[in-house]
């Protein structure tokens, strides 16, 4: 397919009086890995939720695969079935086993048979080192394991676009490396991703574009090499000074 996977144009979002996203524009091409960076509360999670139509926007436009999805007539479920999302707080279903968490949407939304869905889920869970926890309930898993299970749950529907909200936040440095490898191999197989992260090395390694959010605006965006070595904006520089270890 030609043309961008996702286009965000002048999106605005406020909660009551509080303006959370202001004039945000973003273009995501096939195979892109876009990293959203910025301090806590800058609106990263909110932007991701808007892209997935979990939050209605107050102005602007979002286009997915060429058609506008911010239109009130659009079937939000059809859009979401093509977009995968991993939440900051995992949001696994506690009453289902890990396997059932991963096969619920493939079976009920995408119409896969139980055997096909389970085969695919087991395969992915194995790849993510969760082979031993397939039949356990999420509460039995460590934070990092839950995070990976949530990632598998999103991948099981073979989404066109993957939205990841700080998926490495709860992982130890070793696992961060593992997940980074997984994300990179996903990018190579053509999965397009938008992810929010506080891990600057992660962003530098996998991103094709880095967006710096500040108080709900994208102050600066560009390839990681540019943003991390020679940022244009003073605020970006100040933010990076705070989060990056002094060289």
């Amino acid at each position: 397919m030609t043309g961008p996977v996702l286009e965000v144009d002048a999106v605005r979002k406020s909660y009551g009086e509080r303006l959370v996203l202001d004039d945000v524009s973003l273009r995501v091409d096939e195979g892109d890995v876009i990293c959203l960076i910025g301090s806590s509360g800058s609106g990263k999670s909110t932007l991701l939720r808007c892209l997935n139509l979990l939050e209605p926007i107050d102005d602007g436009e979002i286009r997915f695969e060429g058609s506008e999805i911010s239109d009130p007539r659009v079937d939000a479920r059809a859009v979401r079935s093509r977009i995968g999302m991993v939440f900051q707080a995992y949001n696994l279903f506690p009453h289902l086993s890990v396997l059932d968490n991963c096969t619920l949407a493939p079976r009920k939304v995408h119409g896969l048979s139980r055997t096909a869905a389970e085969a695919r889920a087991r395969d992915l869970l194995g790849q993510f080192g969760l082979g031993d926890h397939v039949d356990q309930h999420p509460d039995r898993l460590s934070g990092g394991q839950q995070q990976r299970a949530a990632l598998v749950r999103a991948l099981c529907t073979e989404p066109r676009l993957l939205l990841l909200d700080e998926i490495t936040a709860a992982l130890d440095p070793e696992l961060v490396g593992d997940v980074l490898d997984i994300v990179r191999s996903l990018a190579e197989t053509g999965t397009t991703m938008v992810l929010a992260t506080h891990e600057m090395s992660f962003a530098r390694d996998v991103a094709t574009q880095v967006c710096f959010l500040h108080e709900g605006r994208i102050l600066e965006q560009g390839p990681p090499a540019e943003i991390f070595t020679d940022p244009r904006e003073e605020r970006t520089r100040a933010f990076l000074r705070r989060v990056l270890p002094p060289a």
Partner: protein, 283 residues
Amino acid sequence: MAATWTPSERELERRRLRQRLRRRDLVVATTVTLVVFVGLGLGITSTPGWDAVQELFFNGFHARESFDAVLEGFWVNVKLFMICEPVILALALAVALARQARAAWLVPLRIVAVLYTDVFRGIPTILLVILLAFGMPALGLQGIPISATFWAGVALVLSYGAYVAEVFRSGIESIHPSQLASADALGLSRAQAMRHVVVPQAVRRVVPPLLNDFVSLQKDTALVASAGILDAVFAARNYGNFNFNYTPLVVVACFFVVMTVPLARLTDWLQRRYVERERAGAR
């Protein structure tokens, strides 16, 4: 910042579109509602026995005639409900908490709580009302109230206390153990954790089933009629037996419905406010 913002043409068009969709939904809802209710009304009034039924149950003259007596009786139901309900809430919460107590020296309390719920949930409320309202005054004990209404109220409290205790208990047990763990980690005692962390969340969660039991109690205040207490139902039956017309019973039914509706709306409102405040992002 917000003051200088004017929505774009696209956003304005989207708002118009949303409004149109809303209007379409409204039209669909109105049409369907009208069709259903008019159909039902026509269906009922065209049955062969409708005229006789209307005469016996929906007679305007008898409704007006019996209104004052029913209203006076209904006041007894309202008073019973208003007094019993807070007592039930307190008793039930105490029983639920007693069942949660883990300290060794509180074991007898736990046993009493378990026995209480098992026994009083098992006895039909109407039997309890009759037993206490007739039995207690008949004991002739010095120093206890002899009013049948008082003992009927006690019966309602005992019976409903057992139900509501179980509602509270299910709410308490539905709070995720991680909440107790974080309370423990902060150094709170078990009682403090219950008081400040678990119970507030549990109560919010069980508001809908609690309301259900409240409404049920409002209706079950009518059971005191079986103990000869002059409430709305008793007054209506009295009137019906003298005038061979059952319209007053329908009047009583209307009274009960009118009493329960505001409570339902209040609960909806409370629930919505809680969701808006504490479940906003649900991230």
